[in-house]
């Protein structure tokens, strides 16, 4: 089994360029139901490690420190806030093909009018143990 992170940000996508706070009530509800159902499906398949949404960009902070003096903490709003991470799923699956399949499912989450959002899902393998014959 291999672990993958499936990451998504706030970027506008082919199927939707409107933030969720602007959607119709029914569209919000079906989107949430879709995400819940996907997590339930992954859990039932024994493939889900963790799925979390992150608090909004309004609460994001960037921290840098040169090792002396005081750390620099930058508050939002950030001009590039669309690039910030919105949420992630960590999955533990048989193959990369399966990770891609799940990412595809997530990308087709319904948006306004039930149209798939087509949000890009970043698929990143989590580093693991060395192979035994190394």
């Amino acid at each position: 089994m291999t672990k993958f992170m499936l990451l998504q940000n706030y970027e506008a996508s082919a199927g939707c360029d409107v933030p969720m706070t602007e959607w119709a009530l029914e569209d919000i509800k079906s989107h949430i139901a879709f995400q819940e159902a996907l997590n339930a499906e992954l859990a039932a398949n024994a493939e889900l490690v963790d799925a979390q949404g992150l608090a909004g960009p309004e609460l994001a902070k960037f921290v840098t420190f040169d090792g002396a003096g005081a750390p620099v903490v930058t508050d939002g709003p950030f001009p590039e806030s669309k690039e910030l991470l919105a949420g992630y799923r960590m999955i533990d699956v048989e193959s990369e093909d399966r990770a891609i399949e799940i990412a595809a499912q997530a990308s087709a989450a319904p948006g306004p009018g039930g149209i798939p959002i087509q949000q890009p899902i970043e698929v990143r393998q989590v580093m693991g143990a060395p192979s035994s014959d190394l």
Binding site: T21, E22, L25, I28, I32, A55, G56
Partner: protein, 412 residues
């Protein structure tokens, strides 16, 4: 009949009593706590299969003492061998289990500990939960929780606190810490008892059980009764707090027939009796507010002027701006939204950027018939909350209101 749940309840009740005895005999809280934890784990394995022993408390004490002795023996192995007879020594004469529970609670909620450490240690040493169960409840790896507990014990050791009841003014301060820790455990479970986090509700049940234990040790303390009443009166509403899809349902929209009447009755009796005994504290006032909600058939039927007065009292007692926020809601319900909105104004400073201020303002603007302002504040609140069910609730509130107004869909 021996059931798994029966064994578990018995073990958790006995845990602090057994630990008290072992500490008294060996004087080392840290190792005694480890030994009792191992004895509890052993009992959880053996009892369901072999039946509960005739003297479960004695069994646990003996098992823990044997582990302590084994440990001491291996430490002293080079110097001398312990006599096996020492291990078979009968448990010491009964000391008051009540006092031990209280001393243990005081110890685990020592002010030298952070709230997170105090919570973890209390759940393990007094609650008899395993490290794995506590880790699961707080959604962290078991090794992280084990380390948190181990460091907490080191801190207690370093602070040199004796296994004795604290004296004088310290006693009252420590009792306040204990009540605060139990309240935090309850809230941790209650606030997250939504949708997928259902297993965390065990924390609320455990906090109630510990509060009952505390009340058993201090039956005449009004604030202890108030704390237990507050937990019961709040927990009674849990079944109505979540919808079929795991969504958050606010108090005003809850199906009150789902509320647990037995818990409400018990909580109301407790807080009424406590009030008759004199000094009124924060937990009693909060319990009275919860009782005012629980006793009402509907939002309209609620005695809002009474709740307003109680929040006024609580605000004077605590100076907490979050209490002031709740007072503003009560004022709006008692005297109209304008009165509530006015009370929110001075909170812009102390609660700047807090999503709850926006959420309340949105709600009051909605009642006041200003959906545009309500949408703006619901959105601001949704952007700043750190809870998924709350974000969903606030986002859908904004969408629902927007559907009823002429506001264009996408205005950024």
């Amino acid at each position: 009949m021996t059931t798994g749940a029966g064994t578990e309840d018995l073990l958790r009740d006995l845990a602090p009593q057994v630990l008290g005895v072992v500490i008294r005999r060996f004087g080392d809280f840290d190792s005694a706590e480890d030994a009792v934890q191992e004895a509890l784990l052993a009992a959880a394995v053996h009892w369901p299969a072999e039946g509960i022993p005739a003297n479960p408390r004695g069994w646990l004490i003996q098992a823990a003492v044997r582990r302590m002795t084994d440990q001491l023996r291996s430490e002293r192995a080079r110097r001398r061998r312990e006599d096996a007879a020492a291990m078979a020594e009968p448990p010491p004469a009964d000391v008051t289990g009540r006092d031990d529970t209280l001393i243990l609670l005081f110890m685990c909620c020592h002010p030298a500990l952070t709230p997170a450490s105090a919570i973890a240690l209390t759940l393990r040493a007094v609650g008899g939960l395993t490290t794995a169960e506590i880790a699961n409840a707080f959604l962290v790896p078991e090794s992280t929780m084990a380390q948190r507990i181990s460091r907490a014990k080191q801190r207690i050791k370093a602070s040199g606190v004796p296994f004795l009841m604290p004296a004088g003014t310290e006693w009252a301060q420590r009792l306040r810490s204990v009540m605060h820790v139990l309240y935090l455990i309850f809230n941790e479970g209650y606030a997250s008892s939504i949708g997928a986090d259902l297993h965390r509700t065990e924390l609320s049940s455990e906090a109630i059980r510990l509060a009952r234990m505390l009340r058993g040790a201090l039956p005449d303390d009004g604030e202890v009764a108030g704390l237990l009443a507050l937990m019961l009166l709040t927990d009674a509403r849990r079944p109505a707090r979540t919808g079929p899809g795991g969504e958050l349902i606010p108090l005003a929209e809850q199906d009150r027939t789902l509320w647990n009447r037995a818990l409400i009755a018990e909580g109301m009796t407790l807080v009424t009796e406590a009030l008759a005994n004199g000094v009124v504290g924060e937990y009693q006032v909060q319990a009275l507010i919860a009782a005012a909600h629980d006793g009402a058939e509907s939002v309209e039927d609620t005695d809002w002027p009474q709740i307003l007065a109680l929040y006024g009292l609580l605000e004077r007692m605590t100076g907490n701006p979050m209490v002031a926020l709740n007072r503003a809601i009560a004022a709006a319900m008692a005297h109209g939204p304008a009165a509530g909105l006015k009370l929110l104004e001075p909170l812009d400073g102390p609660l700047a950027g807090h999503y709850r201020l926006d959420a309340v303002r949105a709600h009051l603007f909605e009642i006041a018939g200003d959906p545009q302002a309500a949408v703006t504040h619901y959105r601001a609140a949704a952007a700043r909350t750190t809870s998924t069910p709350e974000r969903r609730y606030l986002t859908t509130q904004a969408a629902r209101l927007r559907a009823g107004t002429a506001e264009p869909g996408a205005d950024g």
